[in-house]
């Protein structure tokens, strides 16, 4: 059967729509540098959402759990193989994402016979200072962007931009600042999925107006989004890479006690 350019375009379009539709409702993942390290934060249901990849690498993603799991295991595999066979110093986020994960995801995306991976992932690599930390956001089509200081994976590119802009402005210094900023950024990434275009009467355009489920409609207020999520029994999951730790393991999942002061404001 002849295959026209139009079919090909259409096919790509449909794949994109399929994935983006499913990503929209995901819980964003927020990564931000602060003086003593990097914080990675998200809100989740039952499954873990933020992960240690290697000594100085962490990741988190939104999307289908099984796809995230495949990506996570692939990242852990590649990092450990390289770290053992060469040196831990040679395991970098740029090599991991750029040369191992991105091409693999791209292959799946390009294969019309398979379902594309439904995910959007944040990778962070801790360096000696916040200015030299590295962040990557990796998409379902294998495309990725490098960033400094912070990175967010959210349901839409617009939501990501909004959340990142907020984090850049906040530029947190302490872990406490970082937690507050990251949680607000999560709320922004969750609630501001598309720009509000004011119409002639001055009413705000509701980007979620096409949804039937009224529960999903949220005000354009990050605090409301956070409160809603916490009310729905979502758990805040946050992990840090500690720059100044004398321990072998720089990664630490924060405990409830570490989060309580920040969360109390939303309860």
């Amino acid at each position: 059967m002849p295959y026209s350019l139009y079919d090909w375009n259409e096919a790509i379009q449909q794949r994109n729509e399929y994935v983006e539709d499913r990503l929209k409702d995901g819980s964003p993942v927020v990564a931000v540098s602060y003086e003593d390290g990097i914080l990675l934060l998200s809100l989740r249901g039952a499954q873990r959402k933020v992960f240690e990849v290697y000594d100085r690498l962490i990741m988190g993603a939104l999307g289908k759990q099984s796809d995230i799991e495949s990506l996570r295991l692939a990242a852990v595999d590649v990092a450990h193989k390289e770290g053992f066979e060469r040196s831990p110093d040679d395991v970098s986020i740029q090599r991991l994402v750029g040369f191992s994960l991105s091409p693999a995801i791209k292959r799946v995306y390009n294969d019309q016979q398979s379902v594309p991976l439904t995910l959007r992932a944040v990778f962070a690599e801790m360096d000696r200072t916040p200015d030299t930390d590295h962040f990557f956001v990796l998409g379902y089509d294998g495309e990725f962007e490098a960033q400094q200081r912070c990175a967010v994976a959210a349901g839409t590119p617009y939501a990501e931009d909004q959340a990142e802009e907020f984090l850049r402005e906040a530029s947190p210094a302490t872990l406490d600042d970082a937690l507050r900023a990251a949680l607000t950024a999560w709320g922004i990434g969750r609630s501001r999925l598309a720009p509000k275009a004011a119409d002639e009467e001055g009413d705000d355009f509701d980007p979620l107006s096409d949804r039937n489920d009224t529960n999903l409609k949220m005000a354009d207020d990050p605090a409301v989004a956070i409160r809603e999520a916490l009310k729905d029994k979502a758990t805040v999951e946050a992990a840090i890479l500690n720059r100044n730790s004398a321990r072998e393991t720089k990664f630490r999942l924060l405990k409830d006690a570490d989060l309580e002061a920040v969360l109390a404001e939303y309860r």
């Binding site: 495949s70 295991l73 692939a74 852990v76 595999d77 450990h80 053992f84 995801i105």
Partner: protein, 283 residues
């Protein structure tokens, strides 16, 4: 499509060294393990002007004390009759709560340490739970067992002492191994290396005369352990004393692994020897 391993957190499988016949025992044995020829340990062949053959680490000691475990090791590495290196580190962390003290072939031991560090972490990171203590001990036993053929051929033999802090029992634990990979838990102390046999009875003597090791405070236990090391250095040519370079000590407690401050070690060594070490280099 993206996956490379079987998803069991099996690092040996990931790096492709676990063969089905050995059940994984050859994780690190390498090709030399089954090589036909017996490699000469000492030769007149090319060397680096210091030594021929393998470099060996010598005496390491692990003892319990009130808050956990102390590991001390001398700093000497020998090759044949030469002292190759006087700043060797033989007590190495495998993770936040596990120390391995190595004796025997330096090359093999360092490879094993690298392997275990990755194996434990790979398991924890991929499986999202830490490897159990028993799992870690078995992994080390497997590696030693996989090394038997090479060791019998005269290369790469090494004997470790593994120390850890058991949060359930809230106490330190010490394990030692034989050359075949059998694992034994000691109640209070363990040692390995060429100087360890000479001092074995002293551990018992100290426990009988001064009370159990597990009841000593850190600096008391440290002083006894460093004294033992000093005696080993006197009785064993391959064990380095503390007159030139200070020994190193690490502790494991409920709070994890810590280096004993070099000033504390210097003061204790001064008390033991009655003299200041003449060339104390930092680390």
């Amino acid at each position: 499509m993206l996956r490379f391993s079987e998803g069991r957190g099996d690092f040996a499988a990931l790096i492709g060294t676990r063969s089905p016949e050995s059940g994984g025992a050859d994780a690190l044995a390498g090709p030399s393990a089954f090589g036909p020829a017996r490699l000469p340990v000492t030769t007149n062949g090319p060397d680096n002007g210091l030594a021929s053959g393998e470099v060996h680490g010598t005496t390491v000691i692990a003892v319990k004390y009130r808050d956990g475990v102390i590991n001390v090791g001398d700093r000497r590495a020998t090759g044949g009759f030469s002292i190759m290196y006087d700043k060797a580190e033989k007590v190495l962390p495998l993770d936040d709560y596990t120390l391995i003290a190595i004796s025997g072939s330096f090359a093999k031991a360092m490879e094993v340490v690298r392997y275990l560090r990755h194996a434990f972490r790979y398991y924890e990171r991929s499986q999202l739970q830490p490897m159990s203590l028993d799992g870690k001990l078995s992994e080390l036993g497997r590696v030693i067992a996989g090394n038997v053929m090479a060791a019998m051929n005269g290369i790469g033999a090494f004997i470790p002492v593994l120390s850890t802090f058991d949060p359930d029992a809230n106490e330190g634990r010490i394990f030692f191994y034989d050359g075949m990979g059998a694992r034994f838990e000691t109640s209070e102390f363990g040692a390995a290396g060429s100087g360890s046999t000479q001092i074995r009875g002293i551990f018992e003597y100290i426990a009988k005369v001064k009370g159990p090791w597990r009841e000593m405070d850190r600096d008391t236990a440290l002083k006894e352990a460093l004294t033992l090391l000093e005696i080993a250095a006197d009785l064993d040519a391959a064990t380095g004393g503390s007159s030139k370079v200070l020994p190193l000590a690490k502790t494991i407690t409920a709070d994890g692994i810590q280096d004993v401050e070099i000033d504390t070690i210097r003061n204790i060594v001064k008390e033991i020897n009655g003299t200041e070490p003449y060339a104390v280099q930092p680390v």
